[in-house]
Subunit: 422 residues, 2 copies
């Protein structure tokens, strides 16, 4: 079988820049001189030494050190502050799923999590319903279940020019495969009464973290989730039960869910800082996230080794539905190229995008913009300032969810920095 010529031709035809650049990226010296018999440095010494890994529940390599770190500007977890946030190390992310151990955490009552025995946990559906119901975990699992991939994002996830890594600018978004029962299934079981138009969800935290959600959203796609990435929801994510309100900001995703009350109006809760706004623009941009995207490689704090071929890679998502398109610019926003979407475009889920790119070694700015299924396009900071009728200064802050375009600046030495100059 001579697969060489046709396959080479096809490859070159489909991506000449890739092929040429990749050849430059592999180390030419070793590639040229490697005799077929000369295998790479053997790892058998390491093999002989070996490590006794946990067999029952595996662990990662000691060479893998990605960690969540406190969000810039928030009290450190060690300070036992009431509010703390830790961010997902997006700069080291691959694919579309966030490992559960690295899912961002935002908490407003310190970083203790309720230690809930799932056998004792109950969920009550009550208020304006025909049949108030209380469910055990086992009973909930008897209902038809669904599995869906959704991102969660804190509205505090906002770029500034003062933070330099993609973990710090965008690390308060994460994406999981959630499994549970649709809230609509439980509400139909209870029978929503005439006049019921909102729900209040309550969690089992000390201050009973609660949020008001419209009944139409509750009946649409909200999920009472017990599963996350193939195992029970993690404690920091609300074990044993979390309400998922797809596309809405993180605070609606009630952890330790224990009560859903059907009511006839929006109820104020502990979580209502900023949700009851007079400005309809703010209201419109407060619940729902995006469309949004960010390049995770090359990103602030990372280092290119020199001119040559790279793959620009990043994540895109939208609270308005599925990602339709991501464009990438490598010249500060003058020219845009359509990136490839490398993972499925689920609604309200992270989608991995990528664009092969040859860096010529000159200073440049790279950025990405997302268009979602509604046709909404991610704005620049300048566009956002114009929308809010405010001057574009470094102090300008987007009200509501900030989905503005992140610029990364690559210096001629290959170092990458936050390029949001204003």
């Amino acid at each position: 079988m001579n697969s060489k010529k046709p396959s080479r031709r096809k490859f070159l035809a489909s991506g000449a820049a890739v092929a040429g650049a990749a050849a430059a990226a592999v180390r030419p010296a070793s590639a040229q001189t490697a005799a077929p018999a000369a295998a790479p440095a053997p790892t058998s010494e390491a093999g002989k030494k070996g490590i006794k890994e946990l067999i029952a529940y595996g662990e990662r390599s000691r060479f893998v050190t990605s960690l969540r770190e406190p969000a810039d500007g928030r009290p450190s977890p060690d300070a036992f502050g009431l509010t703390f946030h830790v961010v997902t190390p997006l700069g080291e992310s691959v694919g579309s799923i966030t490992p559960s151990s690295l899912h961002y955490v935002a908490a407003h009552r310190g970083f203790y999590v309720p230690e809930i025995d799932p056998k004792e946990h109950r969920l009550m559906i009550h208020g304006m319903v025909d049949r108030p119901l209380i469910f055990t975990m086992d009973e909930l699992k008897c209902f038809p279940s669904v599995t869906r991939v959704h991102f969660l994002e804190c509205i505090g996830n906002r770029s500034t020019r003062t933070r330099n890594t993609v973990a710090q600018t965008h690390g308060m978004t994460s994406c999981s495969e959630w499994t549970g029962v649709l809230l609509s299934t439980l509400l139909k079981e209870a029978g929503v009464q005439s006049g019921g138009s909102w729900i209040v969800s309550e969690g089992g935290e000390e201050v009973k973290g609660a949020s008001s959600v419209s009944l139409s959203k509750a009946m649409d796609d909200c999920l009472v989730a017990w599963g996350q990435n193939g195992e029970p929801v993690r404690p920091q994510q609300g074990f044993p039960l979390r309400l998922i309100v797809p596309g809405f900001e993180g605070i609606y995703q009630t952890k330790y869910l224990r009560r859903v009350k059907v009511v006839d109006r929006y109820y104020m809760t502990y979580n209502d800082y900023g949700h009851l706004q007079k400005d309809p623009k703010v209201v419109a941009l407060t619940n729902q996230i995006g469309p949004k995207s960010v390049i995770t490689f090359p990103a602030g704090g990372q280092q290119l080794k020199g001119p040559g071929f790279y793959e620009i890679s990043g994540l895109a998502w939208s609270g308005g539905g599925a990602v339709r398109r991501v464009e990438v610019s490598t010249d500060g926003g003058r020219m845009w190229k359509e990136a490839e979407l490398r993972t499925p475009t689920y609604r309200m889920a992270h989608t991995r995008f990528a664009l092969p790119w040859t860096w010529d070694g000159k200073e440049c700015e790279i950025l990405s913009r997302c268009t979602d299924e509604l046709g909404t396009v991610q704005p620049t900071r300048a566009q956002a300032a114009k929308y809010w009728n405010e001057p574009l200064t470094p102090q300008f802050g987007v009200k509501g969810a900030d989905n503005t375009i992140q610029v990364w600046k690559i210096a001629s030495d290959g170092s990458v920095h936050n390029g949001n100059f204003v």
Copy 2:
């Protein structure tokens, strides 16, 4: 808004059995008497006590105790045997992704894993190629990457009537989101020479676990993976680099991949027990897995609490492509109902299926069968015995990959047992 009547009607119309049974499943006593103001037992005591969880890298709840256990009939990991296998606790699985910590492990050289520093690791492509190449991990990551969901399954994953849990009968299959570069990209870069028709892949283990794969498969969909479920491949899965040969039995998925040699024939390797068979039927059934399915709830060792509504749930997969259909029988195989597919039907990936079901409390047998995109249907043990022209006895063993239908028997006390009587 009166959402009660239309939604109830719609729900009842679409699944009367579900609605009726679910009402029975919720505890009628508490449901009837619960006053809206009487919240479930508060968890605030637990909240006050709290636990200081690992912030940097989160952990699961102490109430979640799913573990991998040694496969029945294999030397225990503690015995330092050359061969050991630990199985995924499929009975507690949700969704389609296996948590990396619970991915099954099959090893033939003891359970030490090479401790490889990714900075030192190299992959060599050589043999019948124009340009032998050696890649560092960083260089590999410059190539266009792909992210794909694939199952891995050990050919030792075979049902018997002597094992009683779904972990023991089917736990040597797991499913991950893998990220890496297509092997075809690297082979095209090296330039396969005329006459190259097979590859031999070699891992960094002591005995250099190796497998021969046809060049056509290698150029089709094989993946050189560094990412698993959003983070680096786990050590027990081949950190830092694993060859994924989608749909083929586990032993082809070379861990600690360090060498791919293009050759002109099938090469014998350490792993070749049973691959060079004279019987073409065995050859045909040795490489490629499935179509296959198994019910994970209710399954052997589990316990139903009494008559009422349940959701039968399980996993289906095929080495031949995507799952097209899964049928479930609750009467020993006389009547079949089409199950719902609850997760996307990726090619060579686990797909979650489910069927709402009301158990009348009588002894019964439940089973599932998968049809894949090629139209191939999962066989019964009787069909397999006929195919092999052997008598159907308890001792009958399927040669090659065993994808026969698993029967679970539910006793009138709700206990579930292996129902593979022969």
